[in-house]
């Protein structure tokens, strides 16, 4: 068992409301990712789950039991700190062994467990070193090892891969997912990297300013963002948002363009809306009647593909294209729109129109 659930967490530091009614349900055995920009309250959320933060309000349940007032040691959780928090006077081995020593495991058991996790994370040759003698990436892996050496109720990981170089990060991403599959166990994983979140999560919560914006599978969050902020934060390149309003069976853009109104666009006529278009749902190569007219503004080759900036009036949309695409700046272009995959948000509230998506 390893369910973690938080209801209505509130925490303020002076004037800063770090957590504002955060509710999360982490199912047993899931890889639950909390995604949010810097300062969103991700670390505070994890610390609250771990029992390191005195909450203003809210409860934490572990395996269905109220653990709100349990001390950290009694919660049976392991945490990877954003700052590693490796004990400076201890070697990597001693650091990794610490959770086992605290729980009075026999020495030979400790040695085996540390050796195993060290092999898993490729840090065998670091075991005799102290944190001061390690690079940031090495410390990060030792910190991971200190968590993974034990089978706790759940693992809490605070941006454990941010300090690794790109290659190692991609490797470790796969590795962690593999570890999660093979060990089982519940992971609560915090990151500000949406690629990491989308690729690793089986459940994803998007956090902003201490408020949960959306919870769902990565696909749900990507395909049906709950509001324009989530749409803008998740997905790269960033979604393009165009101001418009509905009128009869048409969507009329602030720039004067017209598109057929999708069936599900339930907003009353004239209400200010935002049309959200992801780069992969637009095309400058396909011919279509459902299209926006604009002019080429910039071309960004990315090897396997190219990004085309097209100016629609004063607004700009990013379009994904084949790497072979060519054009000159100012050239007229027609951008085909896959309206089935477009998003509509209320311009005032930012909320997605009900039924957006399919």
């Amino acid at each position: 068992m390893g369910t973690v659930s938080a209801q209505g967490l509130r925490k303020s530091f002076g004037d800063v409301q770090a957590l504002n009614d955060v509710t999360l349900e982490v199912p047993d055995g899931s890889f639950f990712v909390v995604l949010g920009p810097s300062g969103a309250g991700k670390t505070t959320t994890l610390r609250a789950l771990a029992g390191l933060e005195r909450l203003d309000a809210g409860t934490v349940h572990l395996d269905g039991r109220d653990a709100t007032h349990d001390p950290p040691a009694a919660r049976d959780l392991a945490m990877v700190f954003q700052s590693y928090a490796l004990y400076p006077r201890q070697t990597a081995f001693e650091n990794i062994a610490s959770p086992l020593r605290a729980r009075k495991a026999p020495a030979d058991e400790i040695r085996t467990a540390v050796a195993q996790v060290a092999e898993l994370l490729h840090i065998e040759r670091l075991l005799d070193r102290r944190p001061a003698q390690m690079s940031g990436g090495e410390m990060q892996r030792v910190a991971l090892a200190r968590a993974l050496v034990r089978r706790p109720r759940a693992f809490l990981m605070d941006e454990p891969l941010t300090n690794l170089d790109l290659k190692l990060r991609v490797e470790m991403r796969t590795e962690l997912t593999r570890i999660h599959r093979s060990l089982g166990g519940t992971f609560v994983y915090v990151t500000n990297d949406q690629v990491e979140a989308l690729s690793m999560a089986d459940h994803l919560a998007v956090l902003r300013d201490g408020t949960v914006q959306q919870v769902g599978t990565p696909t749900e969050v990507y395909e049906r963002p709950a509001n324009k902020w989530v749409a803008g934060f998740v997905g790269s390149p960033r979604i393009s948002l165009l101001a418009c309003h509905a009128e009869g069976d048409q969507l009329i853009g602030a720039e004067g363009w017209k598109l057929p109104r999708p069936q599900w666009a339930t907003a009353e006529d004239g209400r200010p809306l935002l049309l959200g278009l992801r780069a992969e749902d637009l095309s400058v190569e396909r011919r279509s009647d459902v299209a926006l007219d604009g002019e080429l503004y910039g071309l960004e080759p990315l090897g396997d593909r190219a990004l085309v900036d097209v100016k629609i009036g004063d607004a700009m949309v990013k379009v994904k294209a084949r790497p072979t695409v060519t054009g000159t700046r100012g050239e007229r272009m027609s951008v085909a729109v896959d309206l089935d995959r477009a998003h509509l948000f209320d311009a005032d509230t930012g909320l997605a129109l009900a039924g957006t998506g399919r």
């Binding site: 001390p71 040691a73 392991a78 945490m79 700052s83 928090a85 400076p88 006077r89 200190r146």
Partner: protein, 305 residues
């Protein structure tokens, strides 16, 4: 403009940037001479009384009063040092008892202040407390007043409590004076140690206190050493409380005992100087032993993050 001022006034206030220093060029030699000269002058002024004390302590009674005074070429003797520890007729001298009392009182009050102050400093560093700043200010404010201001009420209270003329009384009052200092100094050191070390230890399965004891305390040893030395020096040197609150020679600490040597019809300056040297030595030696920690402590750079 600023450069000429810098050259004329050496010392912390000038603090020229390396850039400015390089540009001085030809002036740097004159500057070094002036600096060296001033430092030498200062050193002589500071060290002369010490030198004179050491000289007096090994001079014969006659040579002490010799006019003109002799710096060299007198007969050295260690008689005064013997007199510090041994009575003229044999047995322990009053001064040696006073030194022992000083060791006991200074040692006990420092140990007590450290034992009480370090956990308190930890609490002030780690926990959110109501009106924490005001509390800390109040604690510090107990140090604002010099001992003479409070010695009369303390005297009256001690008389009622039966603590007059006891070593315990001195230990308690010195502890009371050293605890605020220890709290303030140690809080600085503990603030330097990331609280997340303790958080990590608690998740490892340790209690809050174990986390402090196992992870933070070892990192604080240099800071504790530096703080304890300061507390020790305060207790060792303290004079006002000692002279007001003690009267008999078996309780008296060294400072009032040494001062008591001066005042009869004849003063044995050799003995005074010898006991002053003996009195100064432990502090010097102790400070020398922990000098690395002291420097680290004063710069608050003792703890590696």
């Amino acid at each position: 403009m600023a450069l000429s001022v810098d050259e004329a006034v050496p010392g912390p206030a000038s603090d020229p940037t390396p850039h400015a220093r390089r540009r001085t060029g030809g002036g740097s030699r004159a500057r070094a001479v002036i600096e060296g000269g001033l430092l030498l002058l200062l050193a002589v002024a500071m060290l002369f009384p010490v030198l004179w004390m050491v000289e007096t302590s090994i001079k014969d009674g006659r040579d002490v009063y010799a006019v003109p005074a002799q710096f060299i070429g007198f007969d050295a003797t260690l008689d005064h040092y013997r007199d510090v520890f041994v009575k003229p007729g044999g047995g322990r001298s009053d001064l040696s008892v006073a030194f022992l009392n000083s060791v006991i009182v200074a040692g006990a009050s420092t140990a007590l202040a450290t034992l009480l102050g370090v956990p308190a400093a930890w609490a002030y560093s780690r926990f959110t407390l109501k009106a924490k700043k005001d509390q800390l200010f109040f604690i510090l404010s107990t140090r604002f007043m010099p001992p003479v201001v409070v010695v009369i009420p303390i005297f009256l209270m001690y008389r009622d409590l039966g603590l007059i003329n006891t070593k315990l009384g001195l230990v308690l009052i010195y502890t009371a004076f050293n605890v605020p200092f220890t709290i303030w100094m140690m809080k600085g050191f503990i603030d330097e140690v990331p609280a997340e070390y303790e958080d990590a230890a608690m998740l490892d399965g340790y209690s809050r206190f174990q986390a402090f004891y196992k992870v933070t305390l070892p990192l604080l040893v240099p800071g504790i050493a530096a703080t304890a030395v300061f507390a020790l020096i305060f207790s060792w040197n303290e004079f006002v409380f000692a002279i007001f609150l003690t009267s008999s020679s078996d309780v008296r600490t060294a400072p009032p005992a040494i001062a008591g040597l001066i005042g009869g019809t004849t003063v044995d300056w050799g003995l005074v100087a010898a006991s002053a040297v003996v009195f100064a030595l432990p502090v010097l030696v102790f400070t020398y032993l922990v000098r690395k920690h002291l420097v680290a402590g004063v710069t608050l750079g003792a703890v590696r993050r």
